[in-house]
Amino acid sequence: MSQPQGTPQRPQTQRQALPQHAVERIQRSRNAQGQRFFTSDLSVKEFLLVRESGFECAGLVMGSSFYHVGYQRSDWSQNQEMTVLTQAMYQARELAMARMEEEAHELGSDGVIGVRLHVNRHSWGEDLIEFVAVGTAIYARDGSPWRAPNGMPFTSDLSGQDFWMLLKSGYRPVSLVMGNCVYHVAHQSLRGWFKSVGVNQEMPNFTQGLYDARELAMERLQYEAQLDGASGVVGTQIHESTHGWDAHVIEFFAVGTSVLPIAMKEAPPAPVLVMTVNE
C-alpha cells in the first residue's frame, strides 16, 4: 500500500488542546452524583435507535478551525491540481476533526456518529475559511470496547438509522475518511472554441480534468481507510464546490465511513415490505 501521489499530509499535532469553555462544558455533562446528562443533535428517531443498538448518548461534540488559505497561481491553459489549496482544505478539516475527537475522548465516549463537516465563510477576510465538525458522541451501555484501532473514539457520518442498520448487518464504523483535490480546469483556447462552436462533441480537456480530480479525491479517501485498518468504506459522497474561487478552480471532496466486520450473533433481519400511506 503506497501513498497516492500528492496526498496532503495529516497535521502533525495529533492530540489537540481544547478551549476552556469546552472543558467546562464536558465537565458539567455529569452532575455531582456522576450521573450523565447529554446534549445531542440526533433526532428523536435516531436517539431511540441508538439506544436500541445498546448505546447511550454522551454529548454533542464539535471542533473548529479557522484557516487562512494561501495563494496559488494557476496556468490559464493547463489542467492541474492546486496543491496549496488541496493541502489547506485537507489540513483544516483534519484539525477540526481532531478537536472533535478530543472532545469525544474527554467525554469518555466510544465513538461519534452523525458527523457533519461545514465550511463557513465570514464577511471579514476573503481568504479565510472556517471548518466546523459536529457530531454526537455515544458509548456502549455494557462497556464493551468500540474505539478505533488507534485508541480514539470511532467517527462516522452515518445517521442513527444507518448506524443501527450497519450494526445489525454485522459491521462497525471505524473512522470518517476523506480525500480531497482542488483542481484547475484549463480554459479553452479561442481556436478550440471556434472549432467546436457549431458541432456536438465531447470536450476531452474538461472531461479529463474533472475525471482526474474526482479519481484523486477517491484514491486519497481509499488510502486513508486502508491506513485506519478498515476493510471498506460505506456511504461515500463526492461534493463539488468552488468555495468562491475562480470558476475554473473546483474542489472535489470525498467523504465516507470506513467499516470493519464484527462477529455476528444472529443473521441480519430480513426486511419487511410495507406500503406507507404518507405522501
Binding site: 476552556q20 436500541e52 493541502q87
Partner: protein, 254 residues
C-alpha cells in the same frame, strides 16, 4: 370523540398522520397558540482587537425568546393544556427593533393524567417536536420537558495589518478566530445544557442545533444560539414502551 371536543373544534398545524399518532399516545390537540415579544436591541461597544462576549446582548436575545415562550405558557395554562408541540420561534428585525414570535400547538392528555407530563412547577411542557417525533419519544419511554435555548453574542477580534501581511500567501490556521468561534459555540452549548437542568430535565437534550445569526449587526458580531428539546425518562410502570425496531422496505420511491 368526546363531547367537549365536539363543541369546541380544535385548530392546529398538525398533519393528519401527526394527529393520528397524537391520538395513539392519548393526547388531543386544543389550539394553535401564538406568543410574541418586541425588543429594542441596543448597542454594546466592544474593543476592536478583542475576542469577547457581548453579555448584555446575549442576555437580551435570550430574554426576548423567553418572553415569547412565557406568552405561550400563559395561553397553555388558560386552555388547560398539558403541553405544546412543534414550537418554533421566528425573529423579524427592522433596524434596532426586533419582533420575536413563537407558535405551537397546545395539546392535552385525554385520560386526565396530564400532570405526569407537566414540569416540576405544573407548567405545560414545550418542545419543537413534530407529532411523529412526539409519538416515537413517548413510545420510547421519554417525555419532552421544555424547549431550551442557549445564547451567546460574540465579538470577534479584528486582526492587525501586520499579521495579515505575514500570512497573505501561506496556508495557516488563524488561532484567534478559531478560538473565538469555538468558544462562542461552546458557551451557547453549555448554556443550553444548564437551562435544561434548570427546567428539571433528567434525561438529556435531543435535536440540538447550533444556529449562527447576524441580524444586520456589525460584521464581527455574531449570535450563536443552541436550541433543543430537553427530555426526561417516563417513570411509570404502566407506561407501554414500544416494540423493537424493524427493518422495512418502503414501497415509495425515495
Amino acid at each position: 370523540m368526546s363531547a367537549a371536543a365536539a363543541i369546541h373544534p380544535f385548530t392546529s398545524d398538525l398533519t393528519i398522520d401527526e394527529l393520528l399518532l397524537l391520538e395513539d399516545v392519548g393526547f388531543e390537540p386544543l389550539e394553535l397558540v401564538l406568543g410574541a415579544s418586541y425588543f429594542h436591541i441596543g448597542y454594546q461597544s466592544s474593543a476592536w482587537s478583542q475576542n469577547q462576549e457581548l453579555t448584555e446582548m446575549s442576555q437580551m436575545m435570550l430574554l426576548a425568546r423567553q418572553t415569547a415562550m412565557a406568552d405561550i405558557q400563559r395561553q397553555a395554562y388558560e386552555l388547560g393544556a398539558d403541553g405544546v408541540l412543534g414550537m418554533r420561534i421566528e425573529i423579524e428585525l427592522e433596524g434596532h427593533h426586533a419582533e420575536f414570535s413563537a407558535i405551537g400547538t397546545a395539546v392535552r392528555r385525554r385520560a386526565g393524567d396530564g400532570a405526569k407530563y407537566r414540569d416540576q412547577h405544573g407548567r405545560a411542557f414545550t418542545c419543537d417536536l413534530s407529532g411523529a417525533d412526539f409519538w416515537a419519544l413517548v413510545r420510547g419511554g421519554f417525555r419532552p420537558v421544555a424547549l431550551v435555548h442557549g445564547v451567546c453574542v460574540y465579538h470577534v477580534a479584528h486582526q492587525g495589518l501586520g499579521s495579515w501581511f505575514k500570512t497573505a500567501s501561506q496556508n495557516c490556521e488563524m488561532p484567534a478566530f478559531t478560538q473565538a468561534l469555538y468558544d462562542a459555540r461552546e458557551l451557547a452549548l453549555s448554556r443550553v445544557q444548564s437551562e435544561a437542568a434548570n427546567a428539571g430535565a433528567t434525561g438529556g437534550i435531543v435535536g440540538v442545533e447550533v444556529r449562527e445569526g447576524h441580524y444586520g449587526w456589525h460584521s464581527h458580531v455574531l449570535e450563536f444560539m443552541a436550541v433543543g428539546t430537553a427530555v426526561s425518562p417516563i417513570v411509570d410502570a404502566t407506561h407501554e414502551v414500544h416494540a423493537e425496531a424493524r427493518t422495512i422496505l418502503s414501497m415509495r420511491d425515495d
